[in-house]
Homo-oligomer: 423 residues x 2
Amino acid sequence: MPHPNDPSLRSFIPVDPTSDFPIQNLPYGVFSSKDGLAPRVGVAIGDFVLDLWELEQDSRLGVGPLGIFAGPSLNPFMALGPKVWSQTRARISELLRHDHPELRDNDELRARALVPIRDAKLHLPIAVSGYTDFYSSKEHATNVGVMFRGKDNALQPNWLYMPIGYNGRASTVVVSGTKVRRPRGQLKPPNAEVPSFGPCKRLDFELEMGVVIGQPSAMGEMLDESRAEKMIFGFVLLNDWSARDIQQWEYVPLGPFQAKAFATSISPWIVTSEALEPFRVHGPEQDPVPLPYLQQTHPNNYDLTLDVSLRAAPVNEGQRICRTNFKYMYWSSVQQLVHHASSGCAMNVGDLLGSGTISGPEKSQRGSLLEISWNGTEPLDLPGGLKRTFLEDGDSLVMRGWCQGDGFRVGFGELEGTILPAE
Amino acid sequence: MPHPNDPSLRSFIPVDPTSDFPIQNLPYGVFSSKDGLAPRVGVAIGDFVLDLWELEQDSRLGVGPLGIFAGPSLNPFMALGPKVWSQTRARISELLRHDHPELRDNDELRARALVPIRDAKLHLPIAVSGYTDFYSSKEHATNVGVMFRGKDNALQPNWLYMPIGYNGRASTVVVSGTKVRRPRGQLKPPNAEVPSFGPCKRLDFELEMGVVIGQPSAMGEMLDESRAEKMIFGFVLLNDWSARDIQQWEYVPLGPFQAKAFATSISPWIVTSEALEPFRVHGPEQDPVPLPYLQQTHPNNYDLTLDVSLRAAPVNEGQRICRTNFKYMYWSSVQQLVHHASSGCAMNVGDLLGSGTISGPEKSQRGSLLEISWNGTEPLDLPGGLKRTFLEDGDSLVMRGWCQGDGFRVGFGELEGTILPAE
């Protein structure tokens, strides 16, 4: 049987070369349908969702206990471990191949198991156990540091020694398409004597990738590179919405809290580590050499193009405001996970790890408005003569990401969020 | 029917006046037994656990769907809301009263439903949805501030305007009795050029109370005082184990991460808000007056005595090292909860909010070794000629807390944790 990553594979379902969902991808998500299907697990292929619960009931998959795909999250499937992930993906690939008749020639099953994406409602694909956010792009950390502390003290002394991160709020992780209400909070502009409470005036996005943890580790246990790799089920696009003014006033000394707690959006599709395997690359050289527990021998970065466009209200036209690449990250997801567990912190199935804002070396590669508008001093020009420093009510932001194969793309679909006015 | 808080109530089960569990308390927990009972919900009364699942199967409680007490957490019961909490407590109180024959005179049911506490294994009482830790004792924040920034800049400028807090790690919240392994992490003593990785050398406890959230709020929604009060199911003792050396190196700029991620211990018994009602007191005067959303009209503090003792290895004798009171907290639990949701952050059933270290104005009221030993400069004298600045392997720490009624105590039992050496 050919490997599911084989570039020569084709599906009997027609897939455009610019589609994010060729047979080499097969990302997992949770969907329901207009005609009353309850949320269940599916896989994207071209313009369709393949309903895994239908296939399971038809005994086509042979995965774990019956009902593993019947529920509203991937967690039960992820808990089965990397061997099952791999076998299942191989089987789904086989079922979708143009030269495999089993599903292709079964009209009745095809009608039940293939739902047009446009008819599917996509849900949050995992029950988020814990959400952690890192800060691991050197370019992003440097930009922010230069803005607030000047060029000479841009990077904090600890930054080059460990993936700096903090615990975020899992209860407000939402799926693409969920509208985001402008938060209120305590604001204290530099010239104000005392803080006041009101709508955030410096609302921002952060372009990130999210790692989905599919296997647990025990309290008190440390991880190494190879164990950590096997715990990563896949990746999502992640928008770490940020209220810069709330953050500035609240974050000393215990870090961001309400400034990041109101919403974090992720893409509905989880692209598996296995599908991303062909696109692994080495990250930037790390100097100083990391401490032994953080050293890595595998190429743990990914050549993954990322793209942000902003549709500023009231104009309908979007404009690209950032084009960067996940490969620039200084600390890899594997290093982040190893560090996360280094104190003996237990990891759970369904944990979500944000990479931190992904900026690149060029100006066009900045992954937040804070950097793009240089803390509000360089407004961005948009269609219709509009300008933006931070997000305004009605603005809509779209993130996209993909790895370019030979004649196909392994992509994430779209991560969209629109800003509602404060209540 | 008398109110379950009535000081004149007595149970047919004999309860010593120094017991934490008189009929006026009725705290909830999760227990299993030696003879094979699976974890289920119970209530402490004197030296016994009342098995609510047995009572439920015997149709004695009439609470929600059957099986609400059959599982290993209080979350399904908490989700039913404050009216049901109150009705259930009243009914349990009735069943345990000395002048109510229903359970008292039913030998067969008593034999099934009353388990000696010494035969019960106590479990984590809730499934922790999210864990948040605050920093709301002015005395504690001032002590820490004086140590690290000097007397003139002790309190950060934001501290008097909001309950400062951060998201902690829910995956390592454990029940009393769980041994705590000394964490490893990156350490960089002031005189070291570069950090190294190894066992924490400045391991500490923090004496806190934990608030258990029993009702949810929606994303985008704000709370007010009275709504927040109704969402609080009850309180636990909480020990926020802290690795001071890891924290010092990692915490800028995003706050504590691995320094607090290895373990947080809570008491097995949740004392309900209702049982604590008679012990409510006003907190310290707040100056400046809080912003309107944080203002409170009710007495939201509690006159609750707290006590920490340390049994330093290898000596068997414990010694009290702190005696303080929850009433000193500058920001109340209600203010913390209101602030937590102020950006639109959704709260979930099973969220746990640590109060922050509870220190008082006196030296004997300091709630952490950091303060007691004044950052290691004033070692503590212990029995057997032992000295301590921070915790050593084999040391065991016990926290207790209670409200003193007229002839009875409404208490939390014991929160114990023993330090294991690093692996």
